[in-house]
């Protein structure tokens, strides 16, 4: 009887909320690392994977490091410019209240990702393991998977667990495809996106900040792909009252964690694939470039749950996936760096109570740790182990 009367502090539910956001991020990163390890058995074959991120320059092995760096800069510039344009377009559409169109687009892009990218990765896995799956079964399964995924993303009231699962799957699929970019481009792109996120969320003219302010002033949800952790139901009745976890009813200003629906949006251009083999005679394989509404940035949902944009999932996983292409040691280092960065971001979120970019801290720490691990730690560990000193 005494325990229910002790005033609840934020620490009582902090651990649960943190776990609620760290678990899906970790699962996403782990799955991408697993896919990278399974499917990239031969490091020498760099798949000819052209997308908007390699439009300016496609890296070849014979270029000098300076050329590669320059090319990577150009690629990142093009990509960030494309994202900026797309985000401003999203801001414009949201301003003109074309919410229905945005939701339809979100559903469509989820379908494209799940069916197309999911199908491709499944085919790669089947090919790799020579599973005797027939095409009828495969198409039925893929169809089921993608249609239910679209419903999960599109419908505002759906099973929380399944929606979260599908968002993580979408993050995994897109992240895996982004790890196939050339190496230098990937790293420079990650840094460029971290800087862009910082600018877009914190500058008063940044598109994400405009979007968030519009959403707050209109008391609406931004129609985009956002991962929302399950809101923590506390014993005192103040946090959750018959509220569907994504809808916003009349909010009650009880808790200091409530009432700030702040979400950031980044629209990313989806890549189009180009086959290096002979073009297929009957099927036109060039897919139209579709933009997807992902979110980057971290905020607080209307029911106090932590929201993390799907773009953050994707780029964290791209970093870790690219680290996995070198060695697992760098994976551990980058994973810890990213989790630490995420923790720092969450702390800042609870201090500042407004929309924050989730990419910069984690990506910077991750990149720094990757290069430190690759250049210094590996030599040290290898020497120690081969001399049976430490490990």
């Amino acid at each position: 009887m005494d325990r229910t009367q002790r005033p609840r502090s934020v620490l009582d539910s902090l651990g649960e909320e943190l776990i609620g956001i760290l678990t899906p991020v970790s699962i996403c990163m782990f799955t991408v690392v697993l896919l990278v390890c399974l499917l990239n058995s031969d490091p020498s074959s760099s798949a000819s994977f052209s997308s908007i991120a390699t439009a300016a320059y496609s890296e070849t092995d014979s270029d000098s490091p300076w050329d590669k760096l320059l090319g990577a800069f150009l690629n990142s510039l093009v990509f960030v410019a494309a994202i900026t344009v797309a985000t401003f377009l999203l801001v414009l559409l949201f301003y003109l209240r074309c919410v229905r169109f945005l939701k339809l687009y979100m559903g469509f892009s989820a379908f494209v990702v799940l069916a197309n990218l999911g199908g491709e990765i499944s085919v790669l896995l089947i090919d790799r393991f020579r599973l005797p799956v027939d095409s009828v079964t495969f198409s039925i399964l893929l169809f089921n998977f993608s249609v239910v995924g679209v419903l999960a993303v599109f419908m505002s009231r759906f099973s929380i667990l399944i929606t979260q699962g599908y968002l993580v799957v979408i993050g995994v699929l897109v992240a895996y495809f982004f790890t196939m970019l050339p190496e230098w481009t990937t790293w420079v792109l990650l840094v460029a996106l971290a800087l862009y996120d910082l600018a877009a969320v914190l500058l008063p003219v940044g598109p994400l900040r405009l979007l968030v302010e519009m959403a707050i002033s209109r008391d609406e949800d931004i129609p985009a792909l956002v991962y929302e952790a399950r809101p923590v139901i506390r014993d005192d009745s103040r946090l959750v009252q018959r509220r569907v976890w994504r809808d916003r009813r009349s909010s009650q200003n009880d808790d200091d964690l409530e009432n700030n629906e702040v979400v950031n949006v980044v629209v990313r251009a989806e890549e189009e694939e180009q086959r290096s083999e002979i073009s297929v005679p009957l099927i036109e394989r060039s897919r139209p470039e579709s933009s997807e509404t992902f979110l980057e940035g971290i905020g607080l949902g209307s029911s106090g749950a932590i929201k993390l944009g799907l773009g953050d999932f994707i780029f964290y996983s791209v970093l870790v996936g690219r680290a996995a292409m070198y060695d697992l040691m760098t994976v551990y280092a980058c994973y810890l760096a990213i989790i630490a960065g995420l923790g720092v971001t969450l702390m800042l979120l609870s201090v500042y109570q407004k929309a924050l970019p989730a990419l910069p801290v984690s990506i910077m720490l991750g990149v720094v740790f990757y290069f430190l691990a690759r250049l210094f730690l590996e030599v040290f560990v290898v020497q120690c182990s081969s001399n049976l000193v430490m490990f």
Partner: protein
Amino acid sequence: MEEASRSDEPNRNPNIDRSSNPNPLSSIISSAHVWPTIDGPLGLTEEASVDYARRFYKFGFALLPWLWAVNCFYFWPVLRHSRAFPQIRNYVVRSAVGFSVFTSLLLAWALTFSLGGEQLFGPVWDKLVMYNVADRLGLSGLA
């Protein structure tokens, strides 16, 4: 302890649905109200649940057994408490039956295909198996 939890309940569930609480013992157990969805108080109300269950059941006929499975998963409390929510239970049970039938058929076909192999099917097996189909259509061209 029970007093504290019972006094919390009216605050937690302002629109309690009286018809869906058949168990007299449940008022003593904390978190008494039985919600139709697996999300509990974060999920749907009962009226919306009937609508959702019916729509999921109908859409599942478009070759979507996974949707039936999701239906059963989402309304799992309906299956557990067999006397509550009669309308929802109707659709959920039918979805479960549909899912089992479809899955058993699909599994039978898939297992026959994978275990039978060439001896059972002859040259058609090579034409139907996924990695050959993917090679022919150029789907696995990324790696």
